[in-house]
């Protein structure tokens, strides 16, 4: 695929991610912070987000499998995940954390378990899509094509 085609594909893919609500305006903010002095900023932040989310999802699974469930602890983890996803523009992950916190407050274990599955699902989706996005960007850059402006 040549540079023009790749560029078009990247633009279309990005637009889809926004229109389907996977990403929001905060992601654009991050893209605008990237420049020659900080050329890998978005990838770096998103990588941190992936690492941190995986850690939190593991902790949540562990905490929800305990005999005595510590809802405060769970709420704290979800709060962190909500914060990180909001900061990178991972809109659907952020939204799924909101209902999670409601179930925590209500001390509803079933609800929490369902929410955990939902959050994991949304995380998995956005991870996949962002990896595709970065792959497209990289391939475009390898052809020497100019990146679309965020």
């Amino acid at each position: 695929m040549d540079a023009l085609q790749l560029r078009k594909q990247l633009i279309e893919y990005t637009a889809e991610l926004f229109s389907e609500g996977f990403l929001d305006e905060q992601f654009t903010q991050l893209q605008q912070l990237q420049d020659e002095t900080n050329p890998n900023f978005v990838v770096e932040v998103v990588s941190l987000f992936f690492q941190d989310s995986e850690r939190l999802l593991n902790e949540l699974a562990k905490s929800l499998s305990q005999q005595e469930i510590d809802f405060k602890k769970i709420d704290a983890y979800v709060h962190q995940l909500k914060g990180s996803s909001s900061s990178v523009g991972a809109h659907r992950v952020q939204r799924s954390c909101i209902s999670f916190r409601d179930f925590c407050n209500a001390k509803n274990i079933e609800g929490c378990l369902e929410c955990l599955q939902k959050v994991k699902q949304e995380y998995s989706l956005i991870k996949d899509k962002l990896e595709t996005f970065f792959d497209l960007e990289q391939r475009l850059s390898a052809t020497g094509g100019s990146p679309p402006l965020p």
């Binding site: 637009a15 926004f18 229109s19 609500g21 990403l23 929001d24 305006e25 905060q26 654009t28 903010q29 991050l30 605008q32 912070l33 420049d35 900080n38 900023f41 770096e44 932040v45 941190l48 987000f49 941190d52 704290a76 709060h79 962190q80 909500k82 914060g83 990180s84 909001s86 900061s87 990178v88 523009g89 809109h91 402006l149 965020p150």
Partner: protein
């Protein structure tokens, strides 16, 4: 439904030429979230600030020299910080508690403190402003927020 936003103008500050670090505002950012620390660091660096990030209130107080039993704590560090930005929700010491300690210190009370939070809770905002916070901002932080901060940076330089 998210739409393609227009890029917002980048904050451009008058170029601080010269080698003196003092001419570049020094901001201490306190946040327990790794991703937010990275973002605030870049936002501030892009606004021509020198940034130090710490992950909790205790570390912030140590850095500022407010913990007496630190062998290397220096009062000069405190006077070298022009602005403190702190997250509100942090485990251990909250941003509000940190704010109180800073405003309660004769050494640091003049340093502007900005509190940030992902939650828009009017009583929380009011409480922080009452305690002397210069400003309260909502997360996630954006480039346009850096313009607002600029007004609150203390006079720096010689």
């Amino acid at each position: 439904m998210a739409s393609f936003p227009y890029p917002s103008p980048t904050l451009s500050l008058p170029n601080q030429s010269g080698t003196e670090c003092r001419d570049v505002p020094h901001v201490l950012a306190v946040d327990d979230n790794l991703i937010d620390r990275k973002i605030i660091q870049t936002l501030l660096t892009n606004s021509s600030c020198r940034v130090t990030t710490v992950e909790n209130g205790m570390r912030a107080l140590e850095y500022l020299g407010l913990i007496e039993d630190q062998p290397n704590s220096t009062a000069t560090m405190a006077s070298g910080v022009n602005l403190i930005i702190t997250d509100y929700c942090m485990p251990g010491m909250t941003g509000y508690e940190l704010l109180k300690k800073i405003k309660g210190s004769s050494l640091l009370k003049e340093v502007p403190v900005v509190v940030v939070s992902s939650e828009n809770v009017p009583t929380r905002i009011h409480k922080c402003l009452e305690e002397g916070a210069q400003m309260f901002m909502l997360k996630p932080l954006k480039q346009s927020d850096m313009n607002k901060l600029r007004c609150h940076l203390m006079n720096h330089g010689s």
